[in-house]
Symmetry: C2
């Protein structure tokens, strides 16, 4: 049994922080730690908070933490810092996050600064979430910085994902919506007291009406025609037991609409646990997670066993003595043979 397991289960601050660091860095032995924690996990509700930079995710997350704390629930926040794949330096590491919760022993805040060494951000987030689950978190919030493919992957570790939008973020932001729609369980239109909030809500309604069909930048211009489609599409899916993401307007800085947002998320959780479609989705995510873990395990084992053969192959390829595909087939065969 890994020595940190007992410390995490006893909710010791330093042991838990060390456990987070070990799994984030994927240092040798981190899997033994995770194995030891696993029997004590499965209780936490994992909520992803994603959306474009500037949408107000941190403020909203802070409000959600406050509401959850008022309900007496233990909360952990995993803040994803997109890290340079080159230096491994965390970008927001020195930003002080959600200061007012720092003194609360039932709130644990951890920024990830993954080096992408082993499976990248999503692997790291998944494993740190497990630490917090064992630590006794009732709710783990995963807050991403942007909405890149990586960050959408991260939200797959969540049971329920909140996508935060803000009015007037322009066409380039529109273009990223297709990916967002498909990971969104609940939408927040934050800064709803600003101009353009109605248009943002309407755009989202259209996207939801189109229901996961390819929503390109062009959807924006189609929005005028889609009023009728909207209602029909959503209610048909509702009737089939499919989850249709609700849209909540809020002003996080004033704590307006945030309690309602949490209520929407709770309904999503109930849907996941209480319906066949929800259970199917949980099973699907578990399956994906296993595949990702398998991929990391394969790579780690192959690198350990093949060692310098990989360097030799790289040299041969750069001298154009062999193509990289044949070189890798030979390495795979060698890995399997011995």
């Amino acid at each position: 049994m890994h020595p940190l397991v007992a410390g995490v289960l006893a909710r010791e601050l330093r042991a838990t922080a060390r456990a987070c660091r070990l799994v984030d860095d994927a240092v040798p032995g981190h899997r033994e730690l995770l194995k030891g924690l696993f029997p004590h996990t499965g209780r936490a509700w994992i909520v992803g908070v994603t959306g474009n930079p500037g949408a107000g995710k941190s403020t909203l997350t802070d409000r959600l933490v406050a509401h959850l704390r008022k309900q007496g629930r233990r909360v952990a926040v995993v803040a994803i810092d997109p890290t340079s794949p080159y230096s491994g330096g965390a970008i927001l590491g020195d930003r002080i996050r959600m200061q007012r919760h720092f003194a609360d022993p039932d709130v644990f805040i951890r920024s990830l600064a993954t080096r992408g060494a082993l499976g990248g951000l999503s692997r790291s987030a998944r494993d740190v979430v497990r630490v917090f689950d064992a630590w006794g978190a009732d709710v783990v919030l995963i807050e991403t910085v942007g909405v890149g493919q990586d960050e959408l992957e991260v939200t797959r570790a969540a049971h329920s994902t909140l996508v935060v939008m803000a009015p007037g973020m322009g066409d380039d932001v529109q273009a990223s919506k297709a990916g967002i729609l498909e990971c969104a369980d609940v939408f927040a239109v934050n800064k709803a007291d600003r101009e353009g909030a109605d248009a943002t809500v309407r755009d989202l309604e259209v996207m939801i009406a189109l229901g996961g069909e390819t929503v390109s930048a062009g959807a924006h211009s189609r929005s005028h025609a889609a009023g009728a489609l909207d209602v029909a599409g959503a209610s048909v899916r509702h009737a089939k037991g499919v989850w249709v993401p609700p849209i909540q307007r809020c002003v996080a800085t004033k704590d307006e609409g945030t309690a309602e947002l949490l209520a929407h998320l709770e309904r999503h959780r109930a849907w996941l646990e209480g319906t066949e479609a929800g259970r199917a989705r949980r099973a699907e995510r578990a399956h994906e997670e296993l595949r990702a873990t398998l991929r990391d395990a394969l790579v780690e084992e192959a690198v350990a066993r093949l060692g310098s053969a990989i360097d030799e192959a790289a040299r041969a390829v750069s001298e154009r003595a062999i193509d990289p595909y044949s070189a890798c087939e030979a390495l795979v065969a060698r890995f399997r043979a011995g």
Copy 2:
């Protein structure tokens, strides 16, 4: 020999387009195609164009294509569409790109819509670049949409990477600079006729002066003090043969500064080919590429061989009969045993 190889080498439009699609989708047999093309590659100069949405990358790419064509060089453009990891739908697929080059048989433009199935965007970009290299491109431009970790990975397939910035894109944009700095070989400050261009140039100068040390959002506020540091740091590195990225102001819509930009990129190419440091960097990238290819080959082979054992393991994990780490160790052992 894969039947499409001859068509690509003969520069047939349809065969080349099909070859791109096959490798982008990683359909069975795509590796045989790549093996056949490999002996005919290694000639193209691969240039990455990245930067935040709204910085004007597409317009700038278009200008670079025009300059390259004037020099009589054959050009391919790989436009990266960030794709939902869920639906696989391309977001910008229906945007018409760089229309004026469409009729030119010596310009090939291809949008990637990778499903992320096998190694994701960077794998797909790398392989499509190989198709264009064999097709006879003198220059392949890879244009990304944003600057997420994924997109920075994509630029690793490039020999030379151009990072496009624009004035006044706010603090959230600042936060992503750390990753950008480390992949940048040349900086373009586009829209240089707009207010704030001087500040953007100054910020970049500071970042370059800090020379790849952790550049956090805080670097922005340090910029006033860093004037002296700037010059000293950069010249010391120059003296050591290290490449220090130049900054070029331009206005892509008016074609101002774009010829100079291309000249900077050419100097970077000469540095890569003519110096020890440049050659070391090429070797390092080749090594990374091999590791990425190996990872994909391992996963593909394991999925093919393990088949339903992966499903069974996922079920056991979701029933909490075993932890995912032990389950994956058993799968790896089984893969190696037979």
